[in-house]
Point group: C2
Chain length 226, copies 2
């Protein structure tokens, strides 16, 4: 089956307090995005990557592709005003039938193992949304009251959100809604059921400065195991 990874790297560095968009921050001399791309490239020999970047960062994207020696495997395209629009843009390059991964560029600790498990489940069930159990108590607020969620039932959602193209592409033929916070919500709005899969605790989204430190530590541990 054809494989496409739409890597979304549209975020600005606002919460990081850095002038560089966070996907271009460095970890051991490589940008966060380099790690994400590199892992997908090594997960499958025949994967196509669609890298969705803000217009002002497309030149940096080209440099990254050269660095990875992956000119034939990576297509760069421009992001939109929301994640939904960015993904919609990226999906124009997908051919059918295929399995499509949609991944946050700043989840640079994703592993080949997780990517391959997502592929296998999406092939079988139609989708694979990585999720991990919560370690803190969670409440759902409603006005000035709140209700505790049963911790056993709470899952924190990650990426790559993975789908059969026959499910994902039709779902994105719609207009943007506020409730589209990820690809799973878009697919559900098209009346399709989605399926979770066990994610990985280390597959964190780099959002705050402290997250970079965690990522550095995890990378150092991984390279010491190689």
């Amino acid at each position: 089956m054809e494989k496409y990874a739409v890597i979304v790297a549209g975020g600005s560095g606002s919460r990081m307090g850095t002038p560089v968009p966070k996907q271009f921050l460095l970890l051991q001399q490589r940008s966060l995005l380099w790690y994400s791309l590199n892992t997908f490239l090594h997960a499958f020999d025949d994967i196509h990557i669609i890298l969705v970047l803000p217009e002002e960062n497309m030149a940096e994207g080209e440099k990254l592709v050269t660095e990875l020696n992956a000119g034939k495997k990576i297509t760069i395209t421009k992001g939109g005003s929301t994640r939904f629009h960015s993904v919609q843009n990226g999906l124009r390059f997908v051919t059918e039938p295929s399995i499509v991964f949609v991944h946050d560029g700043v989840r640079c600790l994703v592993t080949k193992g997780l990517i391959r498990r997502c592929y296998a489940q999406a092939l079988e069930k139609g989708s694979a949304i990585p999720a991990v159990a919560a370690t803190d108590s969670i409440r759902i607020v409603d006005g000035d009251t709140s209700v505790v969620a049963n911790r056993n039932d709470v899952r924190i959602i990650q990426t790559p959100q993975t789908f059969q193209s026959a499910i994902l592409l039709p779902a994105f033929k719609t207009t943007h809604q506020e409730s589209f916070t990820d690809e799973a919500t878009v697919v559900e709005a098209s009346q399709q059921k989605i399926f979770l899969i066990e994610g990985e605790y280390e597959n964190i989204k780099i959002t705050r400065p402290a997250d970079l430190l965690i990522a550095e530590k995890i990378l150092a541990e991984r390279s010491s195991l190689q």
Copy 2:
């Protein structure tokens, strides 16, 4: 109003992979618990602390009290088999009327500011449960389906969970239930409403090795600002 802080430090180091219980792990030469105790001691001159420890760590607790020169302000008592039982044990030392903070010993980055805000709200409304917004998507699973939670409505719960003694003490005169995952759930089971308050992102629970690194970084930043 009298002030009591029940600091619960019952956890083992299982997820840390260390032989030392995590509350005794060191950050810049001080144990996690030292920071928690020190911040509460400095939040109010007239606070009483009830430190709940596993029996095998009571001697280390005594050492910590000496180190903090806080013999008159800290009472050490033995933990129970669950968090509920540990807190119940600690509450035996509380006199009424008072405001009672219940705090995870391993949330060592709690600030005086948060403690004082919790105090003020509990005095006014009866309780103050610190909570922060979620940065990841959250789903609630039910069998093999799941429903996305509206991210605007999701709160991640922290401590110190703070209450008027007239609300907390009667609530704990009950037997343990599976659903008692924190003090807020115990109070709710006694038909009392609880009130959230804005928590702090840095007020993390030290659970995994990477959390220690974050804590180190945050402490270093704080001391550079002093």
